[in-house]
Amino acid sequence: MKYDILHETVYSYESPVVLSQQLLHLTPRVVDFQRLGAHRIEVQPAPAETSTRDDYFGNPVTQIMLAAPHASLTVHTRSSVEVLARKIPSASEPWEQARDRLRAGGGDRVSQALLEPMQFIYESPHIEFFRDLAAYAEPSFGKERDLLAATLDFTRRIHADFTFDPKATSVSTPLREVLAKRRGVCQDYAHFMTGCLRMLGLPARYVSGYIQTTPPPGKPRLIGADASHAWVSVYCGGAGGNAVWVDFDPTNNMLVGEQHITLAWGRDFSDVTPMRGVILGGGEQELEVRVTVTPQ
């Protein structure tokens, strides 16, 4: 599938911002199932400085700085992306086996291939461990159940138990509260699922991206369109080097496929926030974000 994506962000400030530094995770990552065509980030007013690099996780990031006083900041990102079908294995291995492979102690040599998933089994700024996370996940992870089947079942349960509610949470709502309310947006769904899996010792990444806005004929419109989306990538390791990351979308109870466009991945929202910044001045501010994903 090919898509044209327009991601618009507008900040309006009560009083002028004299200095603004922003880190943008707005460039879709190039991976074997995704190609990036034309891509442009337009910033108004024009930044004094712009630079690009890859972050720690290999995501493209753009850093901008505006040093002249401004009352509003507009960032328009246009991307053409082609999403290819992913190779998703039909079965994996007992989940305990996947877990135990990553339990390296001092003295154990670790292959480079395993170091990568090992980054994603610990706590992170938005994901704090607590007992109830594991307890919630356990019913799906029966003894020696296949990891893929278990995670699919787990995805289904989260979708069934939780209510999508943009008013219930903010970017800083802790997982405990999300679990207590069983409400939230796709970020909360993804954080919650990631936290549960990591507590079981399974590597899980937080993925930031988009989802197709207009549904294919006859299909319902998906939740999370018109805004940036988030889901979870789970390491489904195989012993023979056929390791793959399989993505699950708990907000829509589905395996991630050609309808999802990947921006970036990391441990949680804090690693891949689409636009994270520090400003001087500004007073009260208003933020408007619009995302349009159109199939070509």
């Binding site: 530094q21 850093q63 700085m65 390296a104 040599r109 970020q187 500004g282």
Partner: protein, 841 residues
């Protein structure tokens, strides 16, 4: 004498004694313990000293500490007060050969830890090789991912390292903890040295105690050496989290000692991926940052987003190699007890040698085998947080009852990777001179030693000394300044002549000579300005209160003459009397006046003093020691009087002392400071405040009856003596007004202030090449104010009831307020704002 000295000093049985050697002969009794050779001279001196002399020394040291303002902020203190630093009169003495062993071990350990750090933030080969368990890196909140790949000039990320050492009963030294974030205490060690070396000047020289200065010079010169070069002399700054930090005193002390500007995050800004200091004359490039701010707080853009303390963009500047940050961002990673167990193998692998000094046995519960082991022997270990940012209080297994053990075991099993267990260390003991004990007696105290190393192009250099900390609380197992420990100077003896060397000294050339002070940071200048204003405001307030109190004490309400209405007017204006209900009776008047002297929460002198001290604390590294002594005396006065019901006569005496102190401060400003731009801002502050005071004073006096006694006006303007020497008569309006308005030689007159302001403002604006051409320009307005004053006709205008004089007083008052505002806008405004984080999805 010796017997008496040691009457309360228990012989060490299960621990090592730093001072006394093993008993000679088979029957170990008190008397047979003998001082070790390197303690003999100090011991003899103590034994020969009278109890009074020993007590005198304790007092002298306490006084030095107080007067030098050495403090330590205690988080737990409800008042958030600075606590005086605790310093024992007896140093810890270490002989040269023993020190050589410590020095070699610390050098090796610093080298090793630095290599581990460089690997983890670079290739991560140690992880793949299994030399480091991945959980220790990936599961460590101190692993700052954005800092991977940041350049490390010279292969150094760990510029300053400290190790906490303990000595076991057999005399061996062990490492208890590594400090790699931003080790504290070296400045306190320096301050301890300053005091104690003066106490034993002769002994200090005879014993050939090694000097500390060379170490600090090496640190400073090495930073300059590795800082990015752009042709200019490298500028290194010391970055502090601010006055609320527990070791802020040390930051100011080190900044002054090393000659580095002390800055907070808001003083710096990043442009073009370079770091700049906001100065009066604009942005000045910063090449190196010696940080005392925790690394995760250093950059709200890329690191922790919930802090306003950092410098947005710093990581990128460091990544590009445009600034040297010491210690490297991310160095907190090594502050984990979990690493200790892996060091012997890492040392073999990386340095090809065995670890010279062992770590106290430590088990990381993240390893399943270790966890089971720890649970089994819980009563013989202390449980600590695995990562320093957890701020977990150590838990001693032996203190736990049945339920406690169950609770701790459950805690360990729930999140094993977050905890380490450490073997209990039987700390060595050293003598402490305790003023509480009667007679000349020593007490034994458990001690720990913190030693320091800094990186240099020739390898790590170890500070020949350290910070010895002694337990004073009941719990001798934990030594912590937070818990009320005391400290000692640490003497490392030398066999050869003591040298004070400096590596890498970069000669200052003529092109580096600085005269102007234009590179002062905006924050320093703003604080200097307010320091000037606040000290002058307090001075005026104290004089006003003295005049008022004298009248209240000496005269009844009936005798109080017509002048009282003017004094009361001033008291209302300063907020000491509230506007509507000026005190109706004598009791209320006395209460209000006393409150203004002692109660910091009300408008008045005490509140003003508190503000003055706050501003001064921000200027710590700019003010001389003598300035500090004066300020500290006033701080103690405030503390002493807090909430006390002091008699009016004593209140008056306090005011006298305060006024002398303000005169002293003003003397320092006049005679002890270089007349650079910073000094001019301080002086402008003083002049503006004094101008407003004198204008208000004259307005209040003129508002009263024409036949009121003017003695109080002269007293408040500190001009009584001049007046009497000139006129030798009762004060009258014309000569009083002439003296206080027109006399350019009277440092309290309006004319004197205006002339001074005009001159300073002209120089400051001139220095920055500012030509102000707006209609309401500050300099034009000041010129106009001077001209108006010079055109005064004494006969017509200098009298009670003159409309022109009233208008002029108001105009001068307004002009000074406007000047203050303009200076703020032009020179200070950009540091007041706070960074805010924003997120968009």
């Amino acid at each position: 004498m010796m017997r008496e000295l040691l009457a309360n000093y228990p012989a060490a049985t299960a621990r090592y004694d730093e001072m006394l050697g093993a008993p000679q002969g088979t029957h170990g009794t008190h008397g047979t313990h003998v001082p070790r050779a390197h303690w003999q001279q100090l011991f003899d001196q103590l034994a020969a000293a009278s109890p009074e002399a020993l007590r005198e020394r304790v007092k002298w040291v306490q006084r030095q500490v107080r007067e030098n303002g050495v403090t330590y902020n205690v988080y737990a203190d409800s008042e958030g007060a600075d606590r005086p630093w605790e310093l024992d009169t007896l140093p810890l003495i270490l002989p040269a050969d023993e020190w050589a062993g410590i020095e070699a071990a610390i050098k090796q350990r610093a080298t090793l830890l630095n290599q581990v750090l460089v690997d983890v933030y670079g290739e991560q080969r140690l992880l793949a090789e299994g030399m480091l368990p991945p959980a220790l890196v990936y599961g460590h909140a101190g692993f700052l991912r954005p800092c991977r790949g940041v350049r490390s000039p010279g292969g150094v990320l760990l510029h300053m390292y400290a190790a906490d050492l303990a000595r076991s009963p057999d005399g061996r030294w062990w490492v208890v903890d590594d400090r790699t974030q931003a080790p504290s205490g070296a400045g306190y060690a320096l301050e301890n040295r300053l005091v104690i070396s003066r106490l034993y000047a002769d002994l200090f020289r005879d014993l050939r105690v090694q000097r500390l200065a060379g170490f600090f010079a090496t640190l400073r010169d090495s930073l300059a050496h590795w800082a990015p070069a752009d042709g200019a002399a490298p500028l290194t700054v010391l970055l502090t989290p601010g006055p609320l930090n527990e070791t802020y005193f040390e930051h100011t002390y080190l900044a002054r000692y090393l000659g580095l500007p002390l800055v907070e995050g808001s003083d710096l800004t990043v442009r073009e991926d370079k770091v700049w200091l906001k100065t009066l004359s604009g942005l000045q490039r910063v090449h190196a940052i010696l940080r005392r701010l925790d690394d995760d707080y250093c950059d709200p853009l890329e690191l922790r987003s919930d802090s306003a303390l950092g410098i947005p963009g710093l990581v990128q500047a460091a990544r590009r190699g445009n600034v040297l940050v010491a210690n490297g961002l991310g160095s907190n990673l090594l502050e984990t007890g979990a690493l200790l167990g892996f060091l012997p193998r890492l040392c073999e692998r990386l340095l090809g040698e065995s670890l010279k000094m062992p770590s106290v046995a430590t088990w990381w519960c993240g390893e399943p085998a270790a966890l089971a082991d720890v649970v089994a022997k819980l009563d013989r270990v202390v449980i600590k947080g695995a990562y320093s940012q957890m701020r977990v209080e150590p838990m001693f297994g032996e203190d736990l009852d049945e339920r406690g053990r169950a609770r701790v075991t459950a805690m360990l099993k729930a999140r094993p990777q977050m905890y380490v267990a450490q073997e209990l260390v039987q700390l060595s003991q050293a003598p402490v001179c305790d003023p509480q004990l009667s007679g000349a007696q020593l007490r034994a105290s458990a001690i720990g030693l913190r030693v320091y190393a800094c990186a240099s192009p020739n390898g790590y250099v170890v500070m020949p000394g350290g910070l010895t900390r002694a337990a004073t609380g009941t719990d001798a197992r934990v030594i912590s300044m937070q818990r009320g420990g005391s400290s000692k100077d640490t003497w490392v003896l030398s066999t050869g002549p003591v040298s004070s060397f400096s590596l890498l000294k970069r000669e200052t050339g003529p092109q580096d000579l600085v005269r102007t002070g234009l590179n002062l940071s905006s924050r320093v200048v703003e604080n200097l300005y307010w320091f000037g204003r606040d000290s002058e405001r307090c001075d005026g307030m104290a004089r006003l209160l003295r005049v008022a109190l004298t009248r209240v004490i000496e005269e009844g309400p009936a005798e109080r003459d017509k002048a009282w209405s003017g004094i009361a007017g001033m008291l209302v204006q300063t907020g000491i009397f509230s506007d509507r209900d000026a005190p109706a009776n004598e009791v209320a008047i006395a209460r209000a006046l006393r409150a203004a002297v002692v109660d910091e929460t009300r408008p008045g002198l005490a509140g003003g003093l508190k503000e003055l001290l706050r501003v001064a604390s921000q200027l710590r590294e700019r003010l001389s020691r003598d300035n500090w002594r004066t300020l500290n005396q006033m701080a103690r006065r405030l503390q002493r009087d807090r909430g006390r019901q002091i008699p009016l006569s004593e209140t008056l005496a306090e005011l006298d002392r305060d006024i002398v102190a303000f005169m002293t401060l003003s003397g320092f400003a006049l005679d002890g400071m270089t007349r650079d731009t910073g000094w001019r801002f301080l002086s402008i502050g003083r002049r503006i405040e004094r101008l407003q005071f004198i204008c208000s004073l004259l307005q209040q006096a003129l508002a009263g009856p024409a036949d009121a006694d003017l003695g109080w006006v002269l007293e408040l303007a500190d001009s009584s003596i001049t007046y009497r020497s000139r006129y030798m008569a009762r004060p009258e309006w014309l000569p009083v007004l002439d003296l206080l308005v027109r006399d350019v030689h009277n440092p309290r007159s309006v004319y004197f202030q205006l002339k001074g302001l005009n001159d300073f403002v002209g120089r400051v604006y001139g220095a920055f090449g500012i030509t102000d051409t707006t209609a309401d320009s500050v300099s034009e307005r000041m010129d106009a104010a001077v001209l108006a004053l010079e055109s005064i006709d004494p006969g017509a205008d200098l009298r009670h009831g003159s409309a022109r004089l009233a208008a002029l007083l108001q105009e001068w008052n307004d002009a000074s307020a406007r000047l203050s505002e303009q200076l703020g806008l032009r020179f200070f405004s950009h540091v007041g704002e706070v960074n805010r984080q924003t997120f968009a999805t």
